[in-house]
Amino acid sequence: METRQEPVIKIEDVSFRYEKNNVLERVNLTVNEGDFLAIVGPNGSGKSTLLKLILNLLKLQNGKITLFGEEMNQFKDRQKIGFVSQKANSFNTGFPATVFEVVASGLTKKLGLFKWMKKEDRRHVIDAIDSVGLREYETSNVGELSGGQQQRVFIARALVSEPKLLILDEPTVGVDAQHVQSFYHMLEDLNKNRGITLLLVTHDIGTISERVSHVACMNKTLHFHGKTEEFERLDKAEVSTFYGHDVHILSHDHHHHHEGVR
């Protein structure tokens, strides 16, 4: 067991630029074990860039990122981190792979090079498929499923290696409005009942605010980070002019607005 005090993610003074554009400016952020944090901000606010840095998809330029108490470059236990990308919604739907095969690919790193799945691993895969409610689609090609079902396949793929931290980048893009609530409900369950720390990036705070424990507002730099209750007490009008119109502050009328937000 690791010491409980160790933050899962610690971001210190991280800046990032694409050529001449500053995307992140001196961001500091700490995510503790058991948190369910939503990072919100308008398009181009650098929130996806921040995720990519954590996931090692972009090279860190300035600042320091510590994962599970280890500095980024030293951190080798990548299977501790599950990742559901935005791209999952626009993946090549013609790809000939069954739900089982896609979920099993989440074990690639955990099993290690040259290893094949054992019986026990297959059971883990089936359990993960079960946990997102797709048991009957196990042998279907992923391309045949609906957008919401596909997104659950990717959650299962992220869960199969039993991560301590699950990172989701705009997970509800491409999911029909009626399934968004049940999707968030599933995340809440993972957080509360399985103790998985969740980090979610979204521009749709309205739908999520009743589920998450913490909110961080970003636009190049971090403007607010705190418990959801504190966030709710902020002056909404001020927040919405600050972040532009594509951040949903109201938590009631999301059904009507959702499709317009992309």
Binding site: L57, I81, F83, S85, K87, F95, P96, T139
Partner: protein, 282 residues
């Protein structure tokens, strides 16, 4: 013909080589197709041609060079070409497909220069362009056996990694897979298979053998493993059927193989049409 196979060594060489190519070309082809890299096979085959032409040129001009199998030079060029494609893909990050026409035309240009320097070749070159069963030597056969064993061993041991890389490169990288190394191994394997397949189907048709059986298989297969299995079966049927037909009807084997692969593809498209008229479950 069965009797003839036992009688003539060149027929044995051709059939055994064909059987092996029928397995490894579609096997690697599956990865090429799902990664939308189908044209890379074309680019590399043209680079292979440059290697062959260079070797034939040297054979003509240098007495000491005769007897060297041009396939080696073809492989060397093909592998070098694959490295260049990777370099170019990282140079043109946002236009990765540009690497393909650059390498393809570069390879063709070099081939033409080598051919003109040699004042043209005899029928040898024709055999490399369109495949020539009688040209397959025992040495070729051994070379192809060795390459196939290596390739199958790599695909078996890197199966998970290759799958994840093909399905979701970003995810592969995020989960800490050495993406660049795995991709490099992959592209070198492609280069080797192309160089070894061209004896049978010829440079102009190699990519067809890598992509057509896969295109057919994808129409009807469930899942990735089944896609691989069906691709290999379709590839094998095309090669063996093509060689038999070519022998009896006195046709060009490379062309016959490819046409059979096209026919299989058409059948699977029709099959799929029949299948989808049933209600699909979603």
């Amino acid at each position: 013909m069965i009797a003839a196979i036992f009688e003539y060594e060149f027929l044995q060489n051709a059939f055994l080589t064909g059987m092996i190519i029928g397995i490894i070309a579609p096997l690697l082809g599956v990865y090429i197709v799902v990664r939308r890299l189908s044209l890379i096979a074309d680019a590399l085959s043209h680079v292979t041609l440059a290697g062959i032409a260079a070797s034939l040129l040297l054979e003509k001009k240098l007495t000491g060079f005769s007897g060297v199998n041009p396939v080696y030079m073809g492989m060397a060029f093909s592998v070098t070409g694959s490295v260049f494609i990777e370099k170019l893909r990282s140079v043109y990050k946002h236009y990765q497909e540009l690497a393909i026409p650059i390498i393809l035309s570069g390879g063709t240009g070099l081939s033409v220069i080598f051919i003109s320097l040699a004042d043209g070749f005899n029928s040898d070159l024709f055999g490399y362009l369109f495949g020539s069963v009688s040209a397959v030597s025992r040495e070729d056969l051994w070379l192809i056996i060795i390459i196939s064993v290596i390739i199958i061993a790599i695909i078996v041991s890197l199966y998970k990694e290759l799958f994840l890389l093909s399905f979701d490169e970003e995810h592969a990288q995020a989960s800490g897979i050495p993406v660049k190394i795995v991709h490099f191994i992959f592209i070198v394997m492609v280069a080797l298979v192309i160089a070894s397949s061209m004896r049978i189907v010829g440079i102009l048709l190699v990519s067809a053998l890598m992509t057509l059986p896969v295109a057919a298989s994808m129409r009807i297969a469930k899942g990735f493993k089944q896609t691989i299995l069906l691709s290999v079966i379709f590839g094998e049927v095309s090669v063996l059927g093509g060689l038999f037909l070519a022998y009896y009807l006195d046709l060009a084997p490379g062309g016959t193989i490819v046409i059979i692969a096209v026919l299989i593809l058409l059948v699977t498209i029709l099959l799929k049409k029949v299948k989808t008229s049933r209600p699909a479950k979603v």
